[in-house]
Amino acid sequence: MAEINLVEAVNLALAHELARDEAVVLLGEDIGANGGVFRATVGLQQRFGAGRVVDTPLAETAIVGTAIGMAAMGLRPVAEIQFSGFLYPAIDHLINHAARLRNRTRGRLTCPLVVRTPCGGGIHAPEHHSESPEAMLAHTPGLRVVMPSSPARAYGLLLAAIRDPDPVMFLEPTRMYRLFRQEVADDGEALPLDVCFTLRGGTDLTLVSWGAMLHETQAAADALATEGISAEVIDVATLKPLDLPTILESVARTGRCVIVHEAARTAGLGAEIAAGLAEEGLYSLLAPVQRVTGYDTVMPLSRLETQYLPSVERIVAAARKTLEAS
């Protein structure tokens, strides 16, 4: 079994599905000969042909719009938007069409579409290349929103997304593309959507996060462990629909919860999780829920991005606050 990084896992999953199902088609900017600006599709056009790995003209609206037409006519398109900051021209198609085609035709037409896009900051990228749009997308009824946080979950969740009969937004944390390697078997085994993954067990508090922020969150759990504090770490993975029961079950045991996300705070998914805890888990809480998030500021250019991104120190401080509260 090979040790691969997250972007290689994405490539492996795409290749697996292209080989398994001839309805699978990739489309996007620079995904052919160039193999994608992050190399997620490297070698795929050579292997599967330019008809199934399509370099499109430079127009995000039509990348998603045409993919919807392909999906409704029986293909399984996987569209790549080069950076999530360039997703916005396609939002009309995602909200008005992809998310509701099944509903508005009572199931006559469907939209088995995956839109992959790198997201998040921390790689010193240019302006508009470090967005975290997951809450915007999760607010749309009819869309699934998935974000992997390791090579194995990228592989397994992407297989699941491509095989799912409905549209899936697959947000790939850019900062994790090459952060670490892990053994991933190319066994075609999908991971389940719509469930959280508990990455480590703990008894004193629950840390909830997703995507690249799990790197800092796990580091915070390590730091807390040196002080004898046992933190459970949950990777939400599918942000919509949300697996609240797993989080509730954990918090019922630990009594404390810190939610960590890179996206801006207001109306972020941390608020949704905190509201779920307040509605259904209030009496098991021993301390107020804490959020450690990006600020309600514009995502700064690279020189300030480390000040924007939640740090291990901020997460540890929030964890301490929950522990001091009772």
């Binding site: 008809g51 003209p57 719009g65 069409h97 508005r104 006559r108």
Partner: protein, 367 residues
Amino acid sequence: MSTVARFHIDHVRFLDPQGEALGPLPDFARDPAQLVPMYRAMYLTRTFDAKAIALQRTGKLGTFASALGQEAIGVGVASAMRAEDALFPSYREHAAQLVRGVRIEESLRYWGGDERGSDFAQARHDFPNCVPIGTQVCHAAGAAYAFKLRGEARAAVCFLGDGGSSKGDFYEGLNFAAVWKAPLLIVVSNNQWAISVPRSAQSATATLAQKAIAAGVEGVQVDGNDLVAVHHVAREALAKARAGGRPTLIEAVTYRLGDHTTADDASRYRDPAVVQEQWSFEPLTRLRNHLVGLGAWGPDKEEALARECTETVNAAVEAYLNTPPPTTAAMFEHLFATLPAALVAQRDEALRFTPRKAGGQPGGDHG
């Protein structure tokens, strides 16, 4: 300095407004067996249209977009399509939809506020009405790509309006289809008005057909009130699409004789005298005169057709009004293939709080 590109746009018209042939006609245009069904479809569309407006005015239908005066475009194009092709209409193309086999009661259900109206019993691959302007061009281009990739001799046909040709989606879809050499026919029903904005304020181009040229696509302008011209260019475009997978843009010039929708009052922004003048160009009289000239039509047939269309529409209205109300659970049934666990509690809440008499009246509770 040298010229690196030139273009010209043809205008196609076979029948003058009185229905007189302006020159040699294509074969089908001398064949009553082919023309009469198209005349019938135009007549049925107009009968349906008038009935739908009457239903809206009496509180039995929601907002409705009339196709009055534009019947030749939808009928002429859709009659050139094959069952296996796919239609991507705007919300004003029930002429095309009726030809495709969409039932009048289905259309009424849609305009009456019920998603079941877009679950067509026939035309299973046709998209439902597209309300976000021009977006359907992209969907049609993608569908055409799918047909081409699988080596199927099918074409995608989309309709939009003159206003829609200002949208980026239109240019992007057109451009993708051109690069892909995809079997796509784009029909711009240029009815001169985008709600209250006239064609002159919509685009500075001499024609809308020439917008195709920038994408490397053949563009042609046709008299959209001349069924023979519309059907002729649509047949040629679809034959070309099926044979080699090349897109075509047809600008069909017509005039919106009605309001934008039943929620609009066009007398606020356009001169009724001009609208009255436009009635002398409308498509049904023109085709009827041509059929009379061929010896294939007369007052008896016209009367029988009127009766038949009225009966057909009345039966459809009956079926529409007798449709059982949609269930509350239907909101959740088709959101995803399988309802996610996270939504079960919301569905149960909706069911728990459903009043005994739910689902609204046909046309909506607003009356």
